[in-house]
Symmetry: C2
Subunit: 348 residues, 2 copies
DNA sequence: ATTAGCACTCTCATGATGAGAGTGCTAATA
DNA sequence: TATTAGCACTCTCATCATGAGAGTGCTAAT
């Protein structure tokens, strides 16, 4: 990003301040900077520069006579000037180990996509102490594999929809009680022969088009198929995996109850999370929202690091970490990136 | 319960103290008791009695010169001498309203048992401000309705198990790749004809018995059926609906962070909850665990109010409220009882 | 342009103080 | 004999003053 108006020295110091604050969580003073990083400047010089950075809105002071704390803008600078995420972070060996284990565990439960996502969110939050979030593949982006209908008690029908990705959706519908199992089988057979390999939302349009083109014999069948199919795929809402509130509580950032309340309120309502992650769903690579950059009101003083996992380069779902604005961005980005790749790999 | 060694007057005062503390959440003093409840005694008399109750372990003092606070034993006395739960609590009209609405909502989503339980836990926690918990019907207590197998990608098979109660369980299994869909159909057909109406755990034994009795032709089929059936029903763990941490945080009881941490740690691990609720799973009517009566270490300073919901008088699962020991027991008991009945009703 | 020096400001931990609430005990009362 | 009034005592909590410590901004010297 263009921060052209900052000279090299200011950048160095800003970077140093943010980094120190992230690891210490205490306002950092001029003296500390000179002691820890041996630039050639004296505390007084650093003080002057920090005052400038303050004026420019990168830093701020909790009170007149405290050290400096980064603003959201300051964090933004820091994140943008972070070295590439494939440059390994210090504690990388440990994390590599962890991720290696995770990969193995995922291999084993790959067939059960639900437990896979559960495992991923848990690992994310445990490793990072932030809140781990994963959205399962969006129903409309998944690929049809097979559908079946089973009569069940009275006028009920159980629908089982299998997708290529291994997502199983089942629903109990009420249908016209004159439908026999025969009818249902015919509809299923029809759908299975026509739809294999298409994405779930292509299919609906496809069917409608077909309904117009085909001869009258099929007409009724297709109409029925469309109707029942629509019900089967309708989104049942609230499909997000979230975990890590407890882990996050242990961070010193959240030593005040009000803050914890704020967060739990935000993550309690999965709609909010869903709305947030929607923002990421088409972007490539890791993206970061810092504090008030956040499009969602409830998360204005938290940060989000997110990426998508993909199947053959089509984005399927989002994986993210939500943490304090004072987050270890380097680490978080590395984790999200790695695990997103890891999930993508299991899809191929 | 036998508290024979307490005379009538002591009981009255103990009851009054507990009740006051529950509603005020502040240590209650002798003067307050005399003012609020007009027994004929002076503060001094009450003081003497309270000192006795203290000696007997029903009350305790936070510090020398504060009012009294109930101990777990004190709460136990209170709960045991509570009037019957069908005696209506004061705010009953409001709650009746709420429960009426809940019943209606449940009617609508009855076919989808998962959303039903979600709805119940949410309602429980919102109404009570405690943590609402519901366990779905224990797999081994549910009744077989139908099973189906669908081949899926390579050596995978998707199993769909329907129960009378409307619980759908699906699993992706790996099977011997020589199994054709034909084989699977035969197995399913066999199971469906034999098992209808039996409970899930009866069936396993039944099959094994059959395997001994029948002629050799069936032998292989039954063996296969047993094997695949076992895999299909195996418990995937962690099936508990929990909600209300946020609501509970707003209670003054949890103004300290450490307490919130304690709780979230306890409810994070669903095994703990499961273990706890197991204690209730066969009992009839509402039961209450107060503080250290609790069999689970992690919940030693919380209370649990629980009951079972039933189908034709067979207990299916547990519904509970977890809250501070200073809980509005009267209200909680009423709620749990009513909602348990309400769920039971939807099963008939 | 940089830096040393210094006065200044603000926080935070500490301790003193006093009001308030409630107790336990004793002596008076019915 | 059981109850109660009275009173000294204890403990908490909010408030205030104090001073050390950390870090700043500004000025004058390098």
């Amino acid at each position: 990003m263009v921060m052209g108006f900052l000279d090299e020295r200011s950048k160095q110091i800003l970077y140093a301040v943010v980094q120190s604050y992230i690891s210490k969580l205490e306002p950092v003073g001029s003296k500390f900077v000179t002691r820890k990083y041996s630039f050639g400047f004296s505390p007084a010089t650093v003080r002057n520069i920090m005052a400038d950075l303050d004026d420019l809105g990168f830093l701020s002071q909790p009170h007149t006579s405290a050290g400096r704390v980064p603003t959201d803008k300051g964090y933004r600078f820091y994140v943008d000037s972070l070295p590439d995420s494939n440059v390994i972070s210090e504690d990388n060996e440990l994390m590599g180990e962890f991720i290696c284990q995770l990969t193995k565990r995922l291999e084993n439960i790959r067939s059960d996509i639900n437990s896979m996502f559960l495992e991923v969110t848990n690992s994310l939050s445990m490793m990072s102490n932030y809140i781990g979030v994963v959205t399962p593949p969006k129903p409309e982006k998944t690929t049809f594999n097979r559908i079946d209908f089973i009569r069940y008690k009275g006028d009920k029908v159980v629908t089982i929809l299998l997708t290529e990705e291994g997502v199983i959706k089942n629903k109990i519908l009420s249908v016209d009680s004159r439908f026999t199992q025969e009818d249902l089988n015919r509809i299923a057979e029809y759908l299975n022969s026509e739809c294999l390999g298409h994405t779930i939302d292509e299919i609906k349009n496809m069917l409608i088009k077909k309904a117009h083109g085909e001869k009258a014999v099929w007409d009724k069948l297709i109409a029925r198929a469309i109707k029942i199919y629509e019900q089967a795929i309708s989104f049942s809402g609230d499909d997000v995996y979230v975990s890590g509130l407890y882990e996050m509580m242990n961070l010193p950032d959240f030593s005040e109850i009000s803050k914890i309340r704020e967060i739990s309120r935000a993550i309690k309502d999965k709609h909010i999370i869903l709305k947030l992650l929607d923002e990421f769903s088409d972007s490539k690579g890791v993206r970061v929202f810092i504090g008030n950059e956040n499009p969602v009101e409830e998360l204005k003083n938290l940060s989000v690091v997110a990426s998508t996992y993909r199947e053959k380069d089509r984005p399927m779902g989002v994986i993210a970490l939500i943490g304090p604005t004072r987050m270890d961005y380097s680490r978080a980005i590395y984790m999200v990136d790695t695990i997103a790749r890891c999930i993508s790999r299991t899809f191929d």
